[in-house]
């Protein structure tokens, strides 16, 4: 006991070291962590990684299929893609693109391309990959109905979708910790009221509720405002599981000896909460937060997919998927469905694996 008070940093370090050791044993969780870090890097450097701005149309190449990236030419390293030839499908009577082996379009690294502002601050022209001349097709994941590069759009959408997860979970966490903490620490009538509130929120089907609120957001609002209000709407419902987690931990800890000891030492409620209780369940909270992010991402995706969440020109995974609402479009251009769909599944899968590993590592008895 005295050691805990005298050397909190030492004890805390021990706890986190143990946590890390246990976490490392879960290989899938470590892999999930790697994927998530990579995705957030993509989100951070989307402008640089994308060959084009997300809304740059190229009307010659509407619904162009994905190109294969060829790495070698005549045995030498020379990454390139093949241009398109347009043919008319005699059966379906529509245009189809086929590869044109005669037209080789070199793919340059750190190429000068369309101008953009990095993080909205620094004007830049350099892209990770690009083509020599503007207008040359480079559609590694295909193009959409306006001939926009789907790869670029998915990369930009990663920023929006993943940040909604983070911002949303921050709001949810604040609400959850506040209400769950009040509920668990004080108990009694406060606890009953908050528990009823949680049950109420959980008993309502979320999608109709989200739809009702999101549909009230005027389409005329500027994109940033829409973004924040949608995030807020999503997190207003997502806080309950975090609140339950926090409350459960508070209830258990409230009767622990070291909390009683701290109280007898005359520490204030707030000091006890922040110095003793929070550190001892922080790892659980981190795990719960990680597991709450996928719900946020999925909620945004569903709302935007229905056309009542984020609106173009914002690009999120859900907004991209909205284009595939029309099954005819999907049948002829399946990449519209599979590219953003794969992004959603990968991110959610990785977050779930990571969260599971964190939760196991946080639980000393598992």
């Amino acid at each position: 006991m005295s050691a805990t008070i005298a050397e909190p940093r030492l004890v805390l370090a021990g706890q986190w070291t143990l946590f890390w050791w246990k976490f490392r044993r879960h290989r899938v969780a470590v892999a999930g962590l790697g994927v998530i870090l990579a995705l957030y890097l993509v989100a951070a450097f989307a402008e640089f990684l994308a060959p084009f701005p997300p809304d740059l149309p190229n009307t010659r190449y509407t619904y162009a299929p994905p190109q294969a990236l060829h790495l070698f030419m005549d045995g030498a390293f020379a990454p390139h893609v093949l241009g398109y030839k347009v043919q008319i499908d005699p059966v379906a009577m529509r245009r189809v693109f086929v590869e044109n082996p005669a037209e080789r379009i070199p793919v340059r690294f750190l190429a000068e391309g369309p101008a953009y502002d990095m993080w909205g601050l620094f004007p830049m022209r350099t892209h990770l990959i690009g083509v020599d001349r503007p207008g040359q097709p480079l559609f590694l994941l295909g193009a959409d109905r306006l001939g926009r590069d789907l790869l670029s759009r998915v990369l930009y959408a990663t920023r929006v979708s993943l940040s909604i997860g983070l911002v949303g979970v921050t709001i949810s966490l604040s609400l959850g910790v506040l209400l769950g903490g009040l509920s668990g620490y004080f108990g009694g009538a406060i606890d009953t009221i908050i528990q009823r509130l949680i049950e109420l929120v959980r008993s309502i089907p979320t999608i109709p509720l989200w739809m009702g609120m999101a549909a009230a957001v005027p389409t005329s609002w500027p994109p940033l405002r829409t973004y924040f209000i949608i995030t807020l709407i999503i997190s207003l419902i997502g806080w309950t599981s975090l609140a339950r987690e926090v409350r459960g931990k508070f209830l258990v800890l409230r009767h622990e000896d070291f909390i009683t000891a701290a109280r007898l030492d005359g520490l204030s409620d707030l000091a006890i909460i922040y110095q003793h209780m929070v550190p001892s369940f922080l790892s659980h909270i981190i795990a719960a937060v990680t597991l709450a992010i996928p719900g946020m991402i999925l909620a945004e995706t569903a709302l935007s997919f229905l056309g009542i969440g984020l609106q173009p020109p914002i690009v999120s995974w859900g907004v991209l998927l909205q284009e595939s609402q029309n099954i005819r479009a999907v049948a002829s251009a399946p990449w519209l469905l599979f590219a953003p769909g794969a992004a959603v599944v990968t991110a959610v899968l990785a977050l779930n694996f990571l969260g599971d590993g964190l939760r196991d590592a946080a639980d000393p008895y598992a």
């Binding site: 009823r196 049950e199 109420l200 959980r202 008993s203 309502i204 089907p205 979320t206 999608i207 109709p208 509720l209 739809m211 009702g212 609120m213 549909a215 009230a216 005027p218 996928p294 999925l298 995706t301 569903a302 997919f305 229905l306 056309g307 009542i308 998927l321 595939s324 609402q325 099954i327 999907v330 049948a331 399946p334 469905l337 599979f338 769909g341 959603v344 599944v345 959610v348 899968l349 779930n352 694996f353």
Partner: protein, 328 residues
Amino acid sequence: MRDYIIRRILYMIPTIIAISVIAFTIIRLPPGDYLTTVIAELSASGAAVDSGTIAALRDRYGLGDPSYIQYLKWISRIVLHGDFGLSFEKNVPVNALIWDRLGATFGISILTLLFIWAFAFPIGIFSAVRKYSMGDYVVTFFGFLGLATPNFLLALVLMYVSVRYFGQSVGGLVSPEFIDTAWSWDKAIDLVAHIWLPIVVIGASGMAALIRIMRANLLDELYRPYVVTARAKGMSEFSLLLRYPVRVALNPFLSTVGWMLPTLVSGEIVVSVVLSLPTTGPMLLRALLSQDMYLAGSIILIASLMTVLGTLLSDILLAWVDPRIRYQ
């Protein structure tokens, strides 16, 4: 048991009131008052708008009154007359529109729930008993995949597969030729041939979650002392497994219906938009997009109420199965 049911019903009352307030708030959320909407709608439909109609509407919805009066007028008409107001878009009572659709939504949700239980239960048991076996890993992998795939995405993928490789669309609950016909054997068979797709699609993520819950619950119970006692009595492994740990693990499993039902109803609403099912989803979305708020608000209100009711039923079922709750 009776006390328990009465207490649960009493607990439900504030929830129901809160839900009605939320639904009413949603009705009022879009900017501008409804009268503007109504007049806009009426003139758009070419009807002559005289001042008498407007005054009647003003009185009916309590426009100009404070919000709480409006709420009271709205809720008392619902409670006393079952009158949910008018659908402005279609200019018919909400009542005439929603019940078939709600019935279909809940029918599909409940079928999905049964489907999930029927499969998640044995698979979860298998996964726990054969922990870390090849089969367990396969189940776990598909479980995570199911959790990570939004159900509308799964619906789209399945539709793509059927259009691309089987050359047919799989939307709807019955084939087009049956839509307006009376019920017959052929129609029923056609319904069964269609309904499995939404059920599988809506159920996928819930099934994945429930398998994981059943597995975790059973793993919690599998090494308890009472299992050793049963083994020491001479029971066979299979019968002691079903008689003791599975029975105990079953209860938290059943209690998941409390949050399963809202999730399934949510899932059904999104998926039905994709698969164009004749359920509440497309109607709610359309009502919201055209700001037909009485229709939208009523759908949200009733879907939520039915969910709460379903949760209540599941709680009573749970108390009936678990003596520890019954005798509390």
